[in-house]
């Protein structure tokens, strides 16, 4: 695919006649390919501001479309539908319906930070991906994504004890996403471990799951953070609900 962004054009708008002669010149096939113009009227001029109320999306308006984010993107290298530059463009134009076409893959950003590192305008594209994913969830366009489920499990443990226990985060995550709590690779690790480690080690590991590691003086810290997050969520919701004339971005 020489011009990859051809994939961004709806298939039905690309028109090619198998047989066509113009002024006596045979232009059959791809020689006469035309892209039908389209007229978009569903701009939401408030959309960029909406995204800015989600954590990570604050700088989306700064983008000048150089495309460095997409060029450097780890996920784009695997799947060219994952195109941060394009989604940032759509966000700033307010073309929500176009973004919705990719709603099922936006959350798969791996946070490698190549984009944020290279961005000349400090847009923080990695943050924008998270903001878009949270917007999709908040508006009900996608179910809670696996990445949110994982983060929330992680966060719940931190709130409760101040620390995490990696096996427990994983097992709870697998359970919540209806996956086997014993995926094949985990069984494989288990098998290899039993080869090297004495039984007492494995018993200890089991005990570790029951007696959770904790920060002793953690006290009310988790509660304070939980309340704060709850408050901030409400504030952000209210900001989104405000008429756009009333706010200055």
């Amino acid at each position: 695919m020489a011009i990859h962004e051809k994939s961004l054009i709806d298939a039905e708008r690309i028109q090619t006649s198998d047989n066509l002669v113009l002024d006596g010149v045979d232009v059959s096939g791809h020689w006469n390919t035309m892209v039908l113009p389209r007229y978009l009227t569903d701009y939401d001029t408030d959309f960029a501001r909406q995204i800015q109320t989600f954590s990570g999306g604050e700088n989306v308006h700064r983008c000048w479309q150089c495309g460095s984010c997409t060029n450097s993107c780890t996920v784009y290298a695997q799947n060219t539908d994952f195109n941060p530059r394009y989604w940032i463009y759509l966000t700033n134009l307010g073309l929500k319906n176009e973004i919705l076409k990719d709603k099922d893959i936006i959350w798969t950003c791996v946070s490698c930070n190549r984009c944020t590192n290279i961005c000349p305008k400090d847009v923080k594209p990695e943050g924008v991906m998270k903001a878009l994913a949270h917007w999709l969830e908040e508006e009900g366009h996608t179910p809670e994504t696996k990445s949110s489920i994982f983060d929330n499990e992680f966060l719940d443990q931190v709130y409760a004890t101040g620390r995490i226990e990696d096996t427990r985060v994983l097992v709870n995550f697998l359970r919540k996403t209806n996956q086997s709590v014993m995926p094949p690779w985990l069984i494989e690790i288990g098998k290899r471990m039993t080869k090297y480690f004495p039984l007492t080690f494995l018993i200890h590991m089991g005990l570790h799951l029951v007696f959770k590691p904790r920060t002793k003086s953690w006290g009310r810290t988790g509660e304070v953070l939980r309340e704060y997050v709850h408050e901030q969520k409400e504030i952000a919701r209210k900001a989104r609900a405000m008429p756009k004339e009333a706010v200055h971005v």
Partner: protein, 304 residues
């Protein structure tokens, strides 16, 4: 009295019986030989590695990191904070950076600490550094060479840096595209670095390891394949997430792609612990899923 002292932030994955406990073991052995004393921050908490964008903005993760840093300021006065885990370092480093440039955020963070009933105030007095920075900046390659009693001669290592110690902050003085410090560390312990390892800073896809495993495994495959293509026998890394991901899914990848990967993935500190005369146990080599047999053999040999 040790030559150098640091305020140490070990982090959740270093705890006994968790995924990177062997990293910790090897760091202890390495630091002992280098006469570096690590004073653990008492009652530290999680850095919030995986909550980057949980809703509610960035404050929660800054409060978590500031709590650790504030305890460190009180207890380990005048020492730099050092983390071994790439994610812990990145989290604490980011908090230090953000709060230094945003006085409102700093005030809010301290208010949250007060509200939580902690008699703590974060002032931003201490630097936050990765263990690698301590090694190459404070001690320097020449000093690191002195305790070497065994050469890791004949082993070819691919230095895999990954993301978190590389972007967005990076190790001081190193390039983002082609960081060299792992290669230099390999050299000082007598090993042979793969100079042209082209997947050095590739992401291991750790964030998708449990939710889209085929995607993260495609990343890991590239990382291991390139190491083999360049003749490496082992991969060496500074990051516990990279270490785990690149090591444990090799069986799965072999099934999926018909490859025959069996590449040990070690920490820089394990190489140094062995080169400094430590046993396989001192170097945490018993915690490998894919055993680093060549290192074990060298560790078992007597010092000449």
């Amino acid at each position: 009295m040790a030559r150098k002292e640091y305020s140490f932030y070990p982090g959740c994955s270093s705890e006994r019986l968790t995924s990177a406990s062997n990293y910790m073991v090897s760091v202890e052995a390495m630091c002992k030989k280098l006469d570096v004393q690590l004073n653990e921050i008492p009652d530290w908490n999680c850095c919030g590695a995986s909550i980057g964008y949980a809703e509610g903005g960035e404050l929660p993760r800054h409060v978590m990191n500031a709590r650790n840093l504030a305890i460190s300021e009180q207890v380990n006065k005048g020492q730099d904070v050092v983390a071994t885990c790439a994610a812990c370092w990145l989290g604490a480093r980011e908090t230090k950076d953000r709060l230094a440039h945003d006085s409102d955020l700093l005030a809010e963070t301290n208010e949250a600490l007060r509200e939580a009933g902690m008699n703590l105030q974060y002032k931003g007095e201490q630097e936050v550094r990765h263990m690698v920075e301590v090694l190459i900046e404070d001690l320097g390659y020449d000093e690191l060479k002195k305790p070497v009693v065994k050469s890791l001669e004949g082993i070819k290592f691919a230095g895999y840096v990954g993301c978190q110690t590389n972007r967005p902050f990076g190790i001081v003085g190193e390039s983002f595209e082609n960081p060299k410090y792992l290669d230099k560390l390999v050299e000082i312990v007598g090993g042979e670095p793969v100079e042209k390892y082209d997947q050095k800073v590739t992401c291991c896809g750790g964030a998708l390891a449990f939710s889209e495993p085929e995607k993260s495994q495609a990343q890991i495959k590239k990382i291991i394949e390139s190491a083999y293509d360049h003749g490496a026998e082992m991969i060496v890394t500074p990051c516990p997430v990279c270490q785990m991901n690149v090591e444990v899914y090799q069986g799965q990848i072999n099934k999926r792609y018909g490859t025959k990967f069996n590449m040990p993935v070690t920490y820089y500190s394990q190489l140094m612990a062995v080169a400094y005369g430590g046993s396989a146990k001192d170097a945490g080599l018993d915690g490998q899923i894919i055993r680093a047999r060549k290192l074990e053999e060298i560790a078992a040999k007597g010092v000449r």
